[in-house]
């Protein structure tokens, strides 16, 4: 989409008055006024094609990334697993986002994750390191405390301050790109849970009411401009690490939203078609709603559903 079109849409969107209807949703998104949709769901294509379709509905990546900006793309690279195990975000999706950001004029696109397994093995075997380099992005180190800086989280209940990766703090824009997984501790691992990979001390979160801490982490002042959930392959059991390919389903879907709670809600609903997981049991999502980080009430949102 051209800038002119974007501006038109923005203007139109502003007139349409979405601003007044869902103020707390918009508080979480920097350029939300432009978006004709709050949530876009795509199904039935390859990761890059689904991404292209979804971002089109948001007016293109230039709605979020401006020329010369430093961008961080934050996938889940937590585990030393190859892409078909669905433990990490799909590398093809990561590559497509990076290429798009660079095309929109981003000065650099940095990718990292505070991995759980050995970071070198995770970066390599996830296929993400290679995909990022090929797409023109940069992998950042995230395996040592030195790369993290202390911030405060306004309004947080348990995680009131924590160390967050410097790439996020230095970036102009960041895009949260989790994969949809079942999770033994947090019940589900989607967009809010993906924030644990920007934090240094995860043990603190585990020891101090995990669900509350995950919700608190979404209160970071610099919120992701966009959340993109990779559901090309999903892990429905034994998550978040998984142990065999039988833990994986391949629904070939993708979700995109500026609302981190709404996208998690939508993803859980989608997940329920494969495995039962009541939304109420996924504490951090309902807490996120209660703390007005976003909404679980997706029926009130403008949702676009696309099948390829």
């Amino acid at each position: 989409m051209k800038r002119r079109n974007f501006l038109k849409t923005a203007l139109f969107g502003g007139i349409a008055g979405t601003l007044t209807f869902k103020p707390y949703v918009l508080s979480a998104k920097p350029v939300a006024a432009a978006a004709p949709y709050d949530l876009v769901a795509v199904m039935g294509g390859e990761p890059a094609a689904m991404y292209a379709k979804a971002i089109e509905s948001f007016g293109g990546i230039s709605s979020f990334v401006k020329k010369g900006q430093r961008v961080v793309v934050k996938p889940n690279i937590g585990w030393d697993k190859t892409p078909e195990y669905a433990a990490n975000t799909n590398p093809a999706l990561v590559a497509a986002i990076i290429k798009d950001c660079l095309k929109a004029g981003a000065s650099e696109v940095v990718v990292f994750d505070h991995t759980c397994d050995d970071w070198k093995a995770c970066y390599k075997n996830s296929g993400i390191e290679d995909a990022v380099k090929e797409a023109g992005g940069k992998m950042a180190f995230a395996h040592e405390e030195k790369y993290y800086r202390e911030i405060t989280l306004p309004g947080a209940k348990r995680l009131t301050s924590t160390k967050v990766h410097e790439a996020i703090l230095n970036a102009d824009v960041w895009i949260n790109v989790p994969i949809l997984k079942n999770h033994g501790g947090a019940k589900m691992s989607i967009a809010m849970k993906n924030n644990m990979g920007i934090v240094w001390d995860r043990r603190f979160m585990h020891a101090n009411d995990l669900q509350q801490c995950i919700a608190d982490s979404a209160l970071i002042r610099k919120k992701p401009a966009l959340n993109i959930v990779d559901a090309y392959r999903i892990m429905t059991q034994n998550g978040p690490k998984g142990r065999s390919l039988s833990d994986v389903q391949t629904p070939k879907a993708l979700f995109m939203s500026t609302d981190i709670v709404a996208i998690d809600t939508a993803a859980v609903s989608f997940f329920n078609q494969f495995k039962k997981m009541p939304l109420a049991s996924v504490g951090h999502i309902t807490i996120g709603h209660d703390m007005k980080i976003g909404t679980t009430d997706i029926d009130t949102l403008k949702v676009q559903r696309i099948k390829l």
Binding site: A41, M43, D80, C116, D117, D118, K120, A121, F141, H143, E144, E145, K146, Y147, H183, G184, G185, A186, K187, R202, R203, F204, H206, A207, N208, D209, L210, Q211, Q212, T236, Q237, N238, P240, K241, R243, S244, L245, S246, D247, Q249, T250, P251, A253, T265, A266, S269, F270, F271, N272, Q273, F274, S281, G283, I298, V303, R305
Partner: protein, 516 residues
């Protein structure tokens, strides 16, 4: 000219070996992919120890080499030997000409053979503890791993502030006691070599002493030709072994390390040459003396000695194999030994704590032990789950170990090798104490020996199936419970086989809707 070439050849070869071996210990960024680790197997003590579990070829070749030409090993293959040569070279820059010269010194046979004897007796009885402290290769390894490696890491870290391509590395495995031991050896070896050439090799080193004994019987030996020798002392001044007695026109072959400083220093260019030791004299003396010019009184022929030596080593190995290890069946079950080490007994018998595995471990879970193995296992590598855990499909340490202390495992074998079992202590668990979700242990478990099962109020609690557990320590490492972790791995004194993971087969669901 040929002899000059020999020295140059020796210098180049030893430096190449030295640098390649050094890389095994200080390649903190794993740039070389451990391709030079195979060279570690050519070290004498590793070759000797791995003869039982691996191949006898290398130790036979090393013995054969010594019985042919003497202690070639000490000047070419031994990295501690080359290190001393480098020290001497550098030290000489700071000395005046006179001080650079060495002179003949009397051998310290009592000290060296006593040490050799004690090490050998301990070894035969199944204890590697003395060998561990005296093996030149292992001492080299420990110096490289505990002194040079941290220095490399810390300088890399200093540079990482400027150059973002260099990753910062927390040196998690720094162990003061091992570092101090390495520093002590470093000071002794450096001082001795700076002042006295190869005095360390010729008075303390058990490998030097053993090869020295063998060299007494080698087929080809350097000998002085008293007809051409000008007694100019050029060879004596250059001899690192301080073993040329010009007055008696004799070379002490137990101390000669085949450095060829003498042959290249010889002003006549011909007075020190190899001689076939078993060439009979044309006119053997009638009474007394040997008919072989280089042999002392009553020395036997080479074939008998070669077979004798091999037989002796084999007999020692046999005794060792059937002797219960010194203190293997100890109660030190706290120490978790690396996958591939079979268990405490095998590991203690074969490990000399060279720290090649410690340096090569990608997850830095291996660190030198302090007292985990007991006093005799000081500095042996132990798995420490406080700062890291053992990567699920990683078998790196087993492919590195030159001693056969960690026997190579395929990745398929590794993921079923149970080095310990997790032990879950319910009342320490966050879920019980705080009544909040956690599941950190379940998250890290690669085999799902831990599963989260319903507890109360919608909370899930870990449930442990130790038959699946391989003892990797992922759960213990991540467990946030303090002061005591709620899940801890207890070592298997003998490693076991874990039950293979069964797949939780589920039907592939086709969906046509988003579900919202």
């Amino acid at each position: 000219m040929a002899y000059r070439f020999l020295k140059k050849f020796r210098v180049v070869l030893s430096l190449v070996f030295f640098l390649l071996l050094l890389v095994c210990f200080v390649d903190t960024y794993h740039l070389t992919g451990q391709w030079s680790d195979g060279l570690l197997k050519w070290q004498f003590v590793p070759a000797l120890l791995s003869a039982v579990t691996g191949s006898v070829t290398i130790i036979l070749l090393l013995v054969l080499l010594t019985l042919l030409f003497g202690r070639v090993y000490c000047s070419t293959l031994c990295p501690l030997g080359t290190y001393q040569d480098i020290v001497r070279r550098i030290a000489n820059w700071f000395k005046n000409k006179k001080k650079r010269k060495l002179k003949y010194s009397k051998p310290h046979h009592l000290v060296r053979y006593l040490l050799l004897g004690v090490v050998a007796v301990g070894f035969v009885l199944g204890s590697s503890t003395l060998l561990l402290k005296l093996d030149p290769y292992s001492n080299f390894g420990r110096m490289a791993a505990n002194l040079l490696r941290p220095a490399v890491i810390w300088s890399g870290n200093a540079l990482s502030n400027t150059f973002s391509a260099i990753p910062f590395q927390d040196y998690k495995i720094f162990t003061m006691s091992a570092c101090l031991f390495a520093a002590a050896v470093f000071i002794v070896v450096t001082t001795l070599s700076a002042l006295r050439g190869r005095l360390y090799c010729n008075s303390i080193c058990p490998v030097g002493s053993l090869l020295g004994v063998l060299s007494k019987y080698s087929l080809f030996r350097l000998a002085l030709n008293s007809d051409t020798c000008a007694r100019c002392m050029a060879c004596v001044k250059a001899c690192k072994g301080q073993c040329i007695d010009i007055k008696k026109q004799e070379i002490d072959h137990t101390r000669c390390v085949q450095c060829h400083n003498c042959t290249s220093a010889c002003r006549t260019q011909q007075s020190i040459r190899y001689q076939f030791a078993y060439q009979p004299l044309p006119n053997p003396p009638q009474r007394g003396g040997s008919k072989y010019p280089l042999l002392g009184k009553g020395e036997a022929g080479g074939r008998r000695l070669f077979l004798g030596t091999i037989g002796g080593i084999a007999a020692a190995g046999a005794v060792r194999a059937f002797t219960p290890a010194w203190r293997a069946s100890s109660t030190h079950t706290k120490a978790i030994t690396p996958p591939g080490s079979r268990g405490l007994d095998h590991f203690k018998r074969h490990c000399t704590a060279c720290h090649a595995c410690v340096a090569g471990c990608p997850s830095h879970v291996l660190r030198p032990a302090v007292s985990e193995y007991g006093l005799d296992g000081f500095m042996m590598p132990v798995l420490d789950y406080n700062k890291s855990f053992c990567n699920y499909a990683c078998n790196t340490c087993s492919t590195i170990c030159p001693n056969g202390a960690i026997i190579p495992l395929s990745k398929e074998e590794k993921i079923l090798t149970q080095i310990g079992k997790a032990n879950f202590i319910l009342d320490r668990c966050i879920v019980v104490r705080e009544e909040t979700d956690c599941g950190a242990c379940d998250e890290h478990c690669p085999v799902k020996a831990i599963r989260m099962v319903p507890f109360r109020d919608g909370l899930l609690i870990p449930q442990l199936d130790t038959s699946l557990c391989i003892g990797c320590g992922g759960c213990e490492y991540i467990c946030p419970a303090r002061p005591d972790k709620a899940i801890q791995v207890i070592a298997n004194t003998e490693h076991q086989q874990a039950r293979p993971v069964e797949e939780d087969v589920q039907e592939q669901v086709e969906v046509d809707d988003f579900g919202f």
